[in-house]
């Protein structure tokens, strides 16, 4: 057992940190938090340096690393700014993953390289207005006539929906399947296809530079060639996808916690009350110690889940443990950071409140913390 990153991983961490520290300036972070706009220029810059395609194999224009290296990058980006960090790193998370596993060679060649290079943006549409945690049944339907499919329905809370060029959409392809999740399929859809409409959501609590939207599909015609993998396997492909992406969310959470912690630590060393730096008061220093303990534990869980994913095989329990814990830690640590800053922490200009607002999403998306606990409980019940 070795508790350290190798030289290559250390260099990756440093490169991501340097990029984020120079590019994600506090002013830019505030600006995008207010504008709720996708930082396209930053995304392209990060993509050209390889930060957004860590997991995509070299033959499709990516970097050919594993989930662990991807998580190292994501942590560093979110450490500097949670909003910009998530926006830049979330674009390529899901679509290439599904295509790599289940797409045919033509789909891979056509759709993955432009995503890897940052020329295009992807969105994966699973969630529906009536189906969040429970995706065992989709209201969006796909009906086949001849050699094409007609898709009807709506998707909600879809990351990148308003700006994406390439979509994958989970639909109910067999409405009579019992149980219903055995009748779901994934389809590739391109921006501009008649019948596909995206609208932007406003007023999110955090990760505002990461644009989110709704999709409306009305008689959207998709050729049979756009079916991803096998018919009626979409549900299984989706669950399998989450085993990897949830680790990335844990990495986002660890990065957000680390970033807020460092701000709080610096502040505690320089802010003076009662004639001395507030870090001299145990009420503050113990809080900082607790934050350190939590972040360290969360990071190790995230590393372990990523390591298992890369070295052995995806371990849903390790993944759920990492995601549920890291996201809780992100909430607690960013909250503590605001408390250490006191009144200043409540102001946008001191940045920690933004970390707290952004951290909340990590407990919600890619499976809520309750869903993670369900995964863990299912495992516990099967244990003898």
């Amino acid at each position: 057992m070795e508790f350290k990153l190798n030289n290559e991983q250390i260099e990756i961490k440093r490169a991501a940190r340097e990029f984020a520290e120079k590019e994600f300036t506090p002013e830019l972070a505030l600006e995008y938090d207010q504008k709720e706009e996708f930082p396209l220029g930053l995304y392209k810059k990060a993509a050209q340096l390889g930060f957004t395609s860590m997991r995509i194999p070299c033959e499709y224009g990516g970097q050919g690393y594993g989930v662990l290296e991807d998580c190292i990058v994501v942590e560093e980006l979110c450490r500097v700014d949670p909003g910009l960090g998530v926006a830049v790193s979330l674009g390529n998370l899901m679509v290439p993953d599904v295509l790599l596993r289940h797409g045919n060679e033509e789909q891979k060649q056509r759709y993955i390289p432009p995503l890897a290079k940052g020329e295009k943006i992807a969105a994966a549409a699973f969630t529906e207005p009536e189906h969040g945690s429970d995706i065992t049944r989709m209201d969006s339907t796909a009906k086949k006539t001849g050699d094409e499919w007609t898709i009807n329905g709506a998707k909600e809370f879809i990351t990148n929906a308003p700006i994406a060029d390439t979509f994958i959409i989970l639909c109910q392809s067999d409405p009579n399947a019992q149980p219903s999740h055995r009748g779901q399929s994934i389809f590739l859809v391109e921006k501009g296809m008649p019948g596909l409409e995206a609208t932007k959501l406003h007023g999110k609590m955090g990760i505002k530079p990461c644009v989110t939207g709704s999709l409306c599909m009305s008689d959207l015609k998709v050729p049979d060639a756009n079916l991803v993998g096998e018919l009626n396997k979409g549900f299984y492909y989706t669950l399998e996808l989450f085993d990897g992406t949830r680790i990335t969310v844990a990495a986002q959470a660890v990065g957000m916690a680390q970033g807020a912690f460092e701000k709080a630590l610096n502040y505690a060393k320089t802010r003076k009350q009662f004639g001395q730096p507030i870090i001299n008061f145990q009420a503050v220093s113990f809080k900082l110690a607790d934050m350190t303990i939590k972040i360290e534990a969360a990071r190790l869980m995230m590393y372990k889940a990523a390591w298992l994913y890369d070295k052995e095989k995806p371990n849903p329990v390790a993944t759920s443990i990492a995601k549920a814990y890291a996201s809780r830690v992100a909430m607690e640590v960013t909250d503590d950071a605001i408390q250490i800053f006191g009144g200043y922490g409540y102001l946008a200009d001191y940045h920690v409140e933004r970390f707290h607002r952004c951290a909340k999403i990590t407990e919600i998306y890619e499976g809520t913390s309750e869903i993670q606990k369900l995964t863990i409980c299912n495992y516990l019940q099967k244990q003898t």
């Binding site: 260099e11 490169a15 860590m54």
Partner: protein, 262 residues
């Protein structure tokens, strides 16, 4: 065009809280973050840009411990082709002269048309290694270089002088240039670069490879000795400017101008 770039791995001290160590001659280094010396970063970038335009090779060279590999790996990731680390306990305590002597012993045997250094190092700020090295190598040099243009057999360099003056020199190659920050904009390390860098080897050489004896390196080979390092006592000097906002602004502008700050 084969280029050698001399780089140093230095602690980032701009925002760190510095303390003097128990010897009274150095700073407490625990907890400091190290990186490539800022000026050397520009020198490396300049070398890589020349190579990309004209072909050739870039070799990064440093004197230091295994920790210095992270700076060398950064150079390799940004486009250097080879890296050399000169490591020997005997090298410790070398001043600018001994440092230049060690570098010279290796560089003299490398084929190079150009040697680039940072103007100075962020830690000791002596700004002397480049100049001494040029003398030892017997090649012309220029310092404070803020623009570099290569011609056939010569180089045209712009030097930034005090008082906003700029000088253009034409210098015969091979030559050594000590570059200023701002000569270019150093690129970020890319993931592709890191992958390539990991396949390149860092060559490690010791005292025996330099052909020098102990007397020429480290403290023994140094001409300067540090007597004391200290933090000067804080003096409180403040001048309060009085008058209307317009008058105060004029006075501030005059003050800044008289000190050559604007």
């Amino acid at each position: 065009m084969d280029i050698v770039v001399c780089v140093k791995h230095v602690p980032e001290t701009a925002e760190a809280e510095l303390k003097i160590d128990s010897t009274g001659k150095n700073i407490e280094k625990t907890g400091l973050v190290y990186d490539i010396n800022e000026w050397d970063d520009y020198a490396l970038e300049e070398a890589v840009r020349i190579k990309e335009k004209q072909g050739g090779t870039v070799t990064a060279i440093t004197i230091g411990t295994e920790d210095f590999d992270s700076t060398l790996r950064k150079c390799l990731a940004r486009g250097a082709d080879a890296a050399i680390r000169l490591t020997d306990p005997k090298f410790q305590g070398s001043d600018a002269y001994a440092t230049a002597k060690i570098l010279h012993s290796i560089i003299k045997n490398l084929h190079c048309d150009l040697i680039l250094c940072g103007l100075q190092a962020g830690d000791d700020g002596s700004a002397a290694v480049g100049t001494i090295l040029a003398q030892l190598l017997g090649v012309p040099h220029a310092t404070m270089v803020k623009k570099l243009e290569l011609c056939t057999g010569t180089a045209k360099v712009n030097r930034e002088l005090e008082g906003g003056l700029e000088e253009i020199l034409e210098i015969k190659l091979p030559a050594l240039f000590a570059v200023s920050t701002g000569i270019n904009e150093p690129r970020y390390v890319s993931i592709m670069g890191i992958r390539k860098a990991m396949q390149k080897e860092i060559k490690v050489l010791g005292l025996a490879d330099t052909g020098l004896t102990e007397a020429y390196v480290g403290e023994a080979g140094s001409w300067l000795k540090t007597e004391k390092l200290y933090v000067p006592p804080v003096e409180k000097q403040a001048e309060f400017l009085k008058g209307t906002p317009d008058e105060v602004a004029t006075k501030i502008a005059e003050l800044l101008k008289s000190r050559g700050l604007i």
